[in-house]
Amino acid sequence: MTNLIIIFLSIVFVNNFLLSQFLGICSFLGVSNKMSSAVGMSGAVVFVMILAEAVTWPVQQILDKFGIGYLQTVVFILVIAALVQFVEMFMKKFLPSLQKALGIYLPLITTNCAILGATINAITFEYSFAQSMIYSFGAGCGYAVAMIIFAGIREEKMNDLGDAVPAAFRGVPIILVAATIMSLSFMGFTGMFQ
């Protein structure tokens, strides 16, 4: 049990997917300009990450049984792409309100490295099923924490900086500098859970 808690906390804070492992940076920088889209995207990532882990972990056992573990990359990306499509159709039919909130972010998730990265990492670390479920849930939560804090910073402070920023740093570079500072502050968690 403590083992599971340590896995969860260390993936949320110490090895945060966005800020220390650089998984899912495209969406971190792209969707964080509005709080509402950051929340929607994070929700969709947590949701799909758990589902993808629940499907890919058993699939890997089957692959290993037949000695074709090397097909991991091909099979995982296909499973995730099919799963996202299926979830989208299912939500449209049975959960229209959820579809409205998360639906538009789902197609983005197929090519999000965070999802594929979490599923491959869980296999590489040789986690049990329960451990990998906690791992991917934690990874999704860590993604949400970093994403929502960063969207808050951008919405509150960075939308009209105007002349406060040197000309060369306006736009893209200052966002990256802000991400640097956030990543630095998350480094404070290093070594907390061993």
């Binding site: 650089f22 495209c26 792209g30 991991q72 296909l78 000309a167 893209v172 966002i175 990256l176 640097t180």
Partner: protein
Amino acid sequence: MDKKSKLSILTNGIIKENPVLILLIGTCPTLATSSSLSNGLGMGVAATAVLICSNIVISALRKIIPDKVRIPCYIVLIAGFVTIVQFIVKAYAPALDKSLGVFLPLIVVNCIILGRAEAFANKNSVIDSALDGIGMGIGFTLALAAMGSIRELLGTGCLLGKTIIPNFSIGFFNLAPGGFFVYGILIAVLIAATKGKALKKTNFSCGVCPMYNSCNLAEANEEVAAEAAAVAQKGAEA
């Protein structure tokens, strides 16, 4: 589209539309694998190999693949090439395999590869697509090498494992925040050097994503913008 010369297609990806520094795509592997020059070069070469192969095959199959299922088809083709590259790296460069770790299989979801398939290979001839792949690959590799050498030199005082500046190291550059920082500084230098002309994107937004054309978020954003415009117009009338 006017006929471009072969040379301009090749150099397009290296300078004018450098994927990392100008188009701002492929940021995940850029930040994660540029902690040292050797890692950056290894990642660049591996991604380039996949990019050239996938561009050639996708261009050759562009009339056979049905338009509606093209993205899944591309992903499967790219995943196949990535698996081959994984095998080669594991066999001939096990140290590189270890240091790249999960980012080697993650070439599958590298925005540059899918982005070039969508933006170039499915509209152009095989030779043009191969040249585009080579150019974009070299541009990606050069950007990674530049970031890798800056971070390795400042972070450890070494370059490719050889000491350049003795007794010098700023650990910050080797760690995660250093990646964001060096990337930001490089883009700022580029903006200053070209007086802002080089960079077409002034902000990170959905437009840089290769899925942009097939994504609902883009449509939703347009809807929101249209609604806001309608409300503003109503306000103006009242």
